[in-house]
Symmetry: C2
Subunit: 349 residues, 2 copies
C-alpha cells in the first residue's frame, strides 16, 4: 500500500501547527494557556504567572551568515525571542540559547555572537540561564527560549479585541524588510564581481540596523503600565502587519479597518522602497521582522494612546462579518491578506 | 591583519561552553543557578523552584532519519529532555518543541513524530506547552525545552558529592550504544545491497528499544522521595558513565572508585558487544544515551538504596587527590576518562 506523502509546503506553517497540536491534551493545571499566543502561560507561582516562548533561527532561512555580523545575530536572536514576552504584556527574565554549529563556524564567530547575546541581555535586563551546544553538518541553527513573568490580570492575549477598539502600532513599519532587500542586493553584486566593495548607503543605515540589530518595545509595555492602559489584544510584528493583525482578528473573532494614511513609515523606508520599485505600503503590510507591538485598546483610552509619541492609531475593530480591510488614500477598500513570512514553500520576498 | 580562526573541534563542547559563558552575569535575583547542571533553577514561585533545560537534536548527529521511526524519535526527544529535570530530582511539567524540517520531511512523518511526543507526554504527565515550526535546507532539527518544579530543599546538583558517599546507578548501561551499533551495521548492509532485507535479531530487541525509545527514571525519583533518600549529587547518563561520573567528581571536587564487577550490564548487551568484538565494560563506560540516573548518597543510606531493585551501588567517593579510577576484576586500577559523546570533532563510536 502506497502511504500518503504530503509536502509541508502544501500546508504552510500555521495549518501544520494546527494539525500537529490538535491532539494536544493538558495534563497539569499549572499549564494555563499552551498555544495560540506569542508565549505560553504557566501558573507556577501564586502571585505572578510565567510566560514562556521558543523560537528557532536557521542560517539560509532566517539569516544569512554571508552578511550577518555575529554580534548583531546574537543581539537579534535575544530581541526576537523576548519580544514574544513583551507581546503578552510581560517582563522577560531569562533566556536559554541552544546552538548547532557546523565545522565552518569558528570559535571567534561564536564569541562575537555571544557578545551580542550578552549586550541584549544587559539592555533588556534578562539572564542567559542555560542552553545546549551541538553540531550540524551545514550552517548554524539557534533556538532561543524566553521566560518571563506577568501579573495574571495584566497578561494580554491575541483573542481579546472587541468591536470599536482602536488598533495601535508602535514605531514604524517595513524598514527591516528593506534592510534585508539592500543586503541581498549587495550580496548579489558581490557574487557577480567580488572585486567591487559593497556600497553601504549611509542614508539607509537605519534600514540595515532595523534588520540586523532590531530593538524590542519594552518602553511601550512600561508606558502602557504607567498610563493604566491594558490592551485588549496584543502581538509583536514578526510576520508582517497584515499577517499579525489577522492573527488578532481571527482569534478575537472580529473584523477590522486599517487606514493607509495612518501607517507609520520612516522616510528612509519610503526612499528605499522607491529604489526597488516597491510600494512602501506593501513593505509596511507584509515586510515583517519589525518587532513592533500591535495592540488594540478600548476607545476610552483614545487620549492616552494618542499622546504616546511612539504609538500610531492605524484603524479600529469592526464586526466579524465586515471582514478585514485596508482603506486606501483614494478610499478604496481591499482585503488584508497574510502574505508575510512563510517558512515553508516560497522564499521570503 | 589576519584574524584568528579556531575550529570548534579544537576546543570541544565543554570548553566551548565555558568560554562562551564566562562573561555571563546574573541580572535577576530569581535566576538561582544558571549553568553547570542538567537544568537551570529559577525561583519564580515562593514554595517551589522552577527547573528548566533545553536540548537540540540534529539529524546526522543525534539521530539518523534513515532508521529512526518517527514515533520513536518524538518519544525519545521528550524523554531525553525531561530526563534533565529528573536528574535535578524535580518533576517535569511542561515541554516546548521547536522543529526545523527540510522539504523532504513529509507532514505524515511529523504527525507520527508528534504521536510519539504525545505518548511520552502522557507517560510522564507533562504538557506540550508551545513551540516553533520552521524550515531548514537539509534534514530535521528538534529543540526541546523542559520545565519542571521541585521544592528548593529537594533540588540535587552535580556538586554535592562527599567523601565516602556511595555511587549508585539505576537500570543497566551500554545497551543504547549497542542498539545504535546494530542499526548502523544494518544501514551499511543495506547501502551495499539494497535487496537484502535488514535482519533484525529478536534477541537484540531490547537494545534497539533502549536506543530508539528509551525510558527515563521517574520511578527512581519517586522511590527516592518515598524512602526519604536525598542524593548528595545526581546526573542523568547521556554522555556515558565515565563522562557523567567525572562531571560529578569535578563539580564536587572529589575522586572516586568504580568497580568493574558492580557495573549493571544486560545479558543482551554482553552478547551484542561480543558480536562486535567490543568489551561490554567499555560500552557501559562510554556508550551514553542510557538516560539512567547516576547519583551519590550518604553511606547512612546504604540499606535503603541496596533494597531498591532497579539500583546498583557501583562504587564510592574518595578524596580528590586519589583520582577517579575503575578497579577491574583482576584488581587493576585505571583512570576513568571522558570518552563519551563529543559533538565537535571525532564522530561518536
Amino acid at each position: 500500500m502506497q502511504e500518503k506523502i504530503t509536502p509541508i509546503s502544501e500546508l504552510g506553517e500555521f495549518a501544520l501547527i494546527d494539525l500537529l497540536t490538535k491532539n494536544n491534551n493538558q495534563r497539569n493545571v499549572a499549564s494555563l494557556k499552551l498555544t495560540g499566543d506569542d508565549a505560553s502561560q504557566l501558573a507556577i507561582s501564586e502571585g505572578e504567572h510565567t510566560l514562556i516562548s521558543t523560537d528557532m533561527m536557521v542560517h539560509g532561512v532566517h539569516f544569512d551568515l554571508g552578511y550577518f555580523p555575529p554580534q548583531h545575530l546574537g543581539y537579534k536572536a535575544i530581541v526576537s525571542a523576548i519580544s514574544d514576552i513583551y507581546a503578552m504584556n510581560g517582563q522577560p527574565k531569562q533566556v536559554l540559547l541552544s546552538i548547532a554549529a557546523s565545522s565552518k563556524i569558528s570559535v571567534e564567530f561564536l564569541e562575537l555572537m555571544y557578545e551580542g547575546v550578552y549586550a541584549a541581555c544587559n539592555d533588556y535586563n534578562v539572564d542567559l540561564a542555560g542552553g545546549d551546544t551541538t553540531t550540524v553538518h551545514r550552517g548554524l541553527i539557534l533556538n532561543i527560549t524566553a521566560i518571563g513573568t506577568a501579573k495574571p490580570e495584566r497578561v494580554v492575549y491575541r483573542s481579546g479585541a472587541q468591536e470599536n477598539d482602536l488598533i495601535c502600532v508602535s514605531g514604524d513599519l517595513g524598514a527591516a524588510y528593506l534592510g534585508l532587500q539592500l543586503l541581498e542586493r549587495e550580496k548579489q553584486v558581490f557574487h557577480q564581481n567580488p572585486e567591487v566593495q559593497p556600497e553601504l548607503n549611509e542614508d539607509y543605515e537605519y534600514l540595515y540596523q532595523r534588520f540586523l540589530r532590531p530593538d524590542t518595545r519594552n518602553d511601550i509595555v512600561k508606558k502602557l503600565a504607567e498610563t493604566g492602559v491594558l490592551p485588549t489584544a496584543m502581538i509583536d510584528i514578526s510576520d508582517g502587519l497584515s499577517s499579525d493583525v489577522l492573527h488578532i482578528t481571527k482569534q478575537s473573532n472580529v473584523g477590522c479597518r486599517i487606514y493607509e494614511n495612518k501607517l507609520p513609515i520612516h522616510h528612509n523606508t519610503t526612499a528605499a522602497a522607491e529604489d526597488f520599485n516597491l510600494s512602501p505600503i506593501t513593505c509596511a503590510l507584509n515586510g515583517g521582522e519589525d518587532y513592533e507591538l500591535l495592540f488594540t485598546v478600548s476607545p476610552s483610552h483614545f487620549e492616552a494612546v494618542n499622546k504616546m509619541a511612539e504609538v500610531s492609531i492605524i484603524g479600529h475593530i469592526t464586526p466579524k462579518d465586515t471582514g478585514c480591510k485596508m482603506i486606501t488614500n483614494a478610499e478604496n477598500e481591499f482585503d488584508l491578506v497574510a502574505q508575510g513570512w512563510e517558512p515553508f514553500g516560497s522564499e521570503r520576498g
